[in-house]
Symmetry: C3
Subunit: 161 residues, 3 copies
């Protein structure tokens, strides 16, 4: 039998907040999936819009960079030799704190210089550390750090030196 106790605002506000945290984590995962897909489709304009205007970028082989435009220029140029590529991310993990968030994941990247020769590629992997900000355009990356743990393939196909 249903109990006709009146439900208070308080309880519903708690449920709403719990749903919001789950939605935020889903939105952060969705942002990083877009980050991978736009890079792999050479949509560098779409890729750059995953970052805040003042984002910081730190990846050893590509250097430290600041600002959406500079980050785009550096990465688009660096990855240009790969006409096809795959940015696989695993173990995405997010901690949301109001309008900021932190995250971690692993990268498994394959870069293919010649799409007609998919057997020839250079791969790297390692851990990401991210920071995010909630903005009018949704969650965006404000800090990106990547470290290389392993590499694979012919070093002459590497852009990571």
């Amino acid at each position: 039998m249903t109990d006709h106790t009146v439900i208070t605002d308080d309880l519903v506000e708690q449920l709403t907040q719990r749903i919001r945290v789950l939605e935020d984590k889903e939105a952060l995962s969705s942002l990083m999936n877009r980050y991978c897909r736009t890079a792999d489709e050479n949509d560098w304009e779409g890729w750059s819009r995953c970052f805040t205007e003042n984002a910081d970028f730190d990846f050893g082989p590509f250097g430290q960079h600041h600002g959406r435009e500079e980050i785009r220029e550096v990465c688009e140029a660096a990855e240009a030799p790969y006409l096809d590529k795959q940015h696989s991310m695993t173990n995405m993990q997010f901690e949301v704190d109001g309008d900021t968030a932190r995250g971690t994941a692993y990268l498994w990247f394959a870069g293919v210089p010649d799409p007609l020769n998919p057997l020839h590629h250079y791969d790297i992997g390692g851990p990401y550390r991210w920071e995010f900000q909630r903005t009018d355009e949704g969650w965006l990356l404000s800090r990106m750090n990547l470290r290389i743990v392993w590499t694979q393939g012919d070093a002459d196909a590497s852009v990571f030196d």
Copy 2:
């Protein structure tokens, strides 16, 4: 202090809808995990039930196929040389629109002809594009597209030519 404003149907319906979207994405991820696991366990009957009866399948090396039964026959035969295998998927992303949905992910596949020699395998990777329908049996795949970005291993162990 709790506020004893009476909560309306409207607000609860909105919360219910937000939970449903999160559950749908979880169910779609679960479907694709089942797709991988059944294929890797050679449970092709279970694997075929991940598709709608009228599903479309498009993967270059295996061709274009229509219908659950045809898709099963083609894939079961094509992958038969791999006595052990691993369909790893990363970056699963789903967009739900009522009783249909779309999704993307990356594949990292390893096919092992001889389980006693796990060092000898042939691997491929690339992006998936999916469409789904909500049915009486839950969410099912209605369209599957896979493109190869990279390959790896001894080409004589490849079934993807």
Copy 3:
């Protein structure tokens, strides 16, 4: 227009339960991400706290082991030759049943003996089977089973023999 029907406890309890299941799956995913990250950072104390005190561990090359401390000793010693490493997990899937849960996933592991030579590493992959218990410290692993499907790299860098 909003409908001022009074919402019952019953409906709110159902919504709360649905949110809880989604939160549980997120917490289990979070636990396994912590499992990977602590191992890769050589935080074996943190890693061991992912297991219940009486957990069972079964991974062919490392053997069968019982109890948090024994599992830690065996794994910490076995993986010591890898000064850098990456435990990537894909296809995490969880089924929650009250205060217990089951899960599956795939491993993609890279072990690097010398961080100055990231091109030289030994990799393995295969399916996990997990059992979990809800405890005062949150969800913990009570049973871990891993099977190797494929290996990769120079066998002289393998700790899995």
